[in-house]
């Protein structure tokens, strides 16, 4: 077991760690919508839709706003 954090990281410098950190956050805060991410969201929306009549209507109100995003996810192309 290492004695302090510098030994723990060994030859890795703060630059290496910061690169990893920045990559992690740029993925986390990314506004892109790949298909995989879209599919992960579907169960939640489905559950909400199935809950009742009012929730279904509520969700459909947002459909026009969601369509470009869905298109983008399926085709993989960003619209103008």
């Amino acid at each position: 077991m290492a004695d302090n954090f510098m030994e723990e990281y060994g030859k890795e410098t703060s630059r290496d760690v910061s690169m990893r950190t920045k990559k992690y956050f740029s993925d986390l805060f990314s506004l892109e919508m790949p298909l995989g991410r879209m599919m992960k969201m579907m169960p939640g929306m489905l559950k909400f839709m199935m809950h009742g009549k009012d929730t279904r209507e509520d969700l459909f109100k947002f459909m026009p706003q969601m369509m470009p995003m869905m298109k983008e996810a399926i085709t993989g192309k960003k619209e103008g």
Binding site: M1, N4, S14, R20, M41, G44, K47, G52
Partner: protein, 237 residues
């Protein structure tokens, strides 16, 4: 121990700021005046915890020390430091961001795991973060039974969230990825650097946080900002 300045990532803060969506702003304005630490209730009991030092390390790019520290996990988000800061630095936001970063590095999972019960079991099921069954003895002694007070105020004895509200909470949790995150925490098997074998240690170095549910190695954290104090640490080891 002697630190090498060339080991720091000089432009970490400047490059991180645009990525962090405004969560780590204004740190470059820090005067190192110590007003944050002076008013900090956590620092008053754990002297090694020091917001001023953490801000300094972030701006100067000593990322290794921040992420591997125990101190990063001692903030409890009272935001007192933000309210007194002469430069309007929102330090609790920094803590929030760098705890995520530390988890990405494999630190601090043991602390987050404790919250799993509240989030997954209480919040997603009832829509309430703090379980109504949990009775704080201090509150019971000093203020009384909360359900009685609620009834007197004309409210139902227990907090309730409508089924629609719970459905909405679940959807938001799914959409934002919180459900997946909580599952991930649930799947964490805590290993400890003090007990793991060389083979495990080698694997954990090369593998950052797994994207799927599975074992997460939690690294041993260090008191990077001073001695924690207390009887246990009174003698040199």
């Amino acid at each position: 121990m002697l630190e090498q300045v060339k080991d720091w990532d000089d432009d970490f803060y400047e490059t991180f700021k645009p990525i962090a969506m405004g969560f780590v702003n204004e740190a470059e304005k820090c005067l190192q005046c110590g007003k944050c630490t002076g008013q900090c209730p956590a620092a008053a009991v754990t002297p090694s915890y020091n917001p001023r030092k953490i801000i300094r390390d972030l701006v100067y790019g000593n990322v290794k020390r921040v992420l591997s520290s125990v101190e990063l996990w001692q903030c409890f988000f009272c935001s007192g430091c933000y309210s007194v800061c002469p430069m309007d630095i929102n330090f609790p936001f920094f803590v929030f961001m760098f705890r995520l970063a530390a988890m990405n590095e494999g630190y601090g999972w043991e602390d987050v795991k404790q919250l799993e019960g509240y989030a997954e079991k209480s919040y997603l099921k009832d829509g309430i973060t703090v379980s109504t069954f949990e009775r704080n003895p201090f509150v019971m002694d000093n203020i009384g039974d909360i359900s009685k007070i609620r009834v007197e105020a004309g409210l139902p004895p227990e907090r309730t969230v409508s089924p629609r509200g719970i459905a909405e909470i679940n959807m938001i949790s799914d959409l934002s990825g919180m459900t997946a995150f909580m599952k991930q925490i649930g799947g964490v098997e805590l290993l400890d650097c003090t007990t793991c074998t060389d083979e495990q240690a080698k694997r954990c170095k090369t593998k950052p946080m797994p994207s799927k549910v599975g074992k997460i190695k939690t690294h041993h954290r260090y008191y990077n900002y001073g001695e924690p104090g207390g009887k246990k640490n009174a003698e040199a080891r």
